[in-house]
């Protein structure tokens, strides 16, 4: 009898990440077991670093949690700090968008595991948060609220009360619903427990940060470890996981959303009623100009940032988001390197996928919170 010799086959797949964007994943498989996975990136590269070098500081904006590090870095070089109220508003908006991002991750883990219902409910909740961000900054996704030295504007009248009302009444109820539908669900657990396990040592070695690092059991949160703005005045807990599998990453994110609600409720209690100082109006470049032409001149010319270099990092929803800024004293960044957490996480994907099955790829990649746009920049 002649035995057929089976060779491992190579698959060329295109992975879509939860927030849009693609990367290519070349898989070497034996049956349905993954032997080797090689990600190829660059499909949504648009050269933000080159653009920032060619634009004045005020024009270099991005998603809310993503521009946070850059704003902090510019403030560090300028040696200014936002007013208390502005800092509280920043943290409030950052936590709102953290909820939005974690929600996206949680529902796409569920979707990867074959349960697509939560994503429909999640979309409605995300829409509500985007509505709040729109009221705060003027646009839905690219909230465009943060400014060097403060925020774009004070929160509109009654917005904070609306946020509190919604969080307490609807959002916590929604989280309980998700808990009920997913956390104890037998099928969901079968698809996530023990899948894509990353040990604590490996997580550190592979450059993990944020919720993924915490899910593996390391107690590390930049909001507590190296607090920026007013995080040191707020009291919150850091949930950590134990096993580092998809289920741990899901649980950590669920618990973090509840902590974010906790933070926002504290902010509403503590926020002071002082004035906000926004740099655009305070740094007068030419006193002879009228107020109107003065403000347009400021937008054209922007402010100069003293020469120097610094690195600032924030705890973005998916991990450590950093900005390394080199200034030569002009109104443009000489070099701005954006360090994204997804870049490090995607680099570790071959290690995480090894030994897992093809059907778990979606669950693992979305549980790591990888976004192709963030990887490619």
């Amino acid at each position: 009898m002649v035995r057929a010799v089976l060779k491992n086959s190579t698959l060329n797949t295109m992975q879509q990440t939860a927030g849009g964007g693609f990367f290519r994943l070349v898989l070497e498989v034996d049956g349905e077991n993954i032997l080797k996975a090689t990600p190829h990136i660059g499909f949504s590269h648009f050269g933000i670093e080159k653009l920032i070098e060619n634009k004045s500081y005020i024009n270099a904006v991005s998603l809310l949690n993503q521009e946070y590090a850059l704003v902090l870095a510019i403030e560090k070089l300028l040696k200014i700090k936002p007013s208390k109220r502005a800092a509280y508003i920043r943290v409030l908006l950052a936590e709102l968008s953290r909820i939005m991002s974690h929600l996206q991750t949680v529902v796409s883990i569920a979707e990867g595991a074959g349960n697509s219902t939560p994503s429909y409910y999640g979309a409605a909740v995300q829409e509500k948060i985007m509505e709040f961000l729109e009221l705060a900054g003027g646009s839905r996704l690219h909230a465009n609220c943060l400014r060097v030295g403060g925020v774009y504007n004070d929160l509109s009248y009654g917005l904070m009360e609306d946020i509190v009302k919604w969080l307490k009444k609807d959002f916590l109820c929604f989280l309980d619903n998700i808990d009920e539908k997913l956390t104890e669900d037998r099928i969901f657990k079968q698809r996530t427990v023990g899948i894509g396990t990353v040990s604590s040592e490996n997580a550190i070695e592979w450059g993990f940060s944020g919720a993924n690092l915490r899910a593996s059991g390391s107690l590390w949160d930049l909001r507590k470890a190296q607090p920026y703005d007013v995080y040191d005045e707020l009291d919150f807990e850091i949930p950590i996981g134990k096993y580092g599998d998809c289920y741990s990453r899901y649980l950590v994110r669920m618990a973090e959303m509840r902590q974010s609600v906790n933070i926002i409720l504290q902010i509403i209690e503590k926020i002071p009623e002082d004035f906000m100082i926004i740099l655009d109006d305070t740094v007068a470049t030419d006193n002879e100009k009228t107020v109107l032409s003065h403000s347009s001149k400021n937008i054209d010319e922007d402010y100069n940032v003293p020469a120097g270099q610094c690195y600032e990092s924030t705890e973005a929803p998916s991990g450590e988001f950093g900005a390394y800024l080199v200034s030569d004293g002009s109104n443009r960044a000489y070099r701005c390197k954006i360090r994204t957490p997804s870049f490090a996480h995607l680099q570790a994907v071959p290690h995480v996928l090894k030994g897992n099955k093809i059907e778990d790829i979606n669950t693992i990649i979305s549980s790591l919170g990888i976004e192709a746009g963030e990887v490619d920049r």
Partner: protein
């Protein structure tokens, strides 16, 4: 999780440990410690920083290239390291001339691979010892280093449809190249 470590105490350790033979210069600015090292002592330095009990920099956060067009040597390569157990950060800076390869950090930090590929892609600084030294973000037919200061924002070639040849052709943009 411990409170953020004092950067000045860390800087005081530099002249009294074996770093003094490896580091050519160091400074503390804006609460950050920058070490300047020569390319040939880079791997020794980061190995020491990772393994020594006083430093324990377990994670490589980022590798970043900077192009100083009129300076000699032309490029900086900046390594950002993070110590989770001591809650410290450090920057290691290597100065590199154009077309000069520098040693790769992959043997010390596994995550260096993609960061070095990105620096190669953006600046054309190559790293010997990296197992997969190829482009990462730009397409394979793209032959420039886009983050260099002498590379124009709009690109150096213009693509247009050639009627005679019946295909897309690339032309250099006049006056820039």
């Amino acid at each position: 999780m411990i409170d953020k470590g004092n950067i000045n105490e860390l800087a005081e350790l530099v002249p009294i440990t074996s770093l003094r033979n490896l580091v050519s210069d160091f400074k503390v600015t804006k609460g950050e410690l920058f070490l300047n090292v020569k390319a040939d002592s880079l791997v020794k330095t980061i190995t020491f920083l990772k393994d020594d009990v006083n430093f324990q920099f377990e994670q490589l956060i980022d590798i970043c290239g900077v192009d100083y067009l009129n300076r000699e040597p032309r490029f900086d390569v900046v390594y950002h390291l993070l110590s989770i157990s001591l809650n410290q950060r450090i920057c290691v800076v290597v100065q590199v001339a154009d077309k000069t390869p520098i040693p790769s950090a992959v043997s010390v930090y596994e995550t260096a691979e993609w960061y070095e590929r990105e620096v190669w892609d953006m600046y054309g600084i190559s790293f010997f010892g990296n197992p997969d030294m190829c482009k990462i973000l730009t397409e394979s037919s793209f032959n420039d280093y886009p983050l260099r200061k002498d590379y124009p924002l709009n690109g150096s070639v213009k693509w247009s449809y050639d009627e005679k040849e019946q295909r897309l052709t690339a032309k250099s943009v006049d006056g820039i190249i």
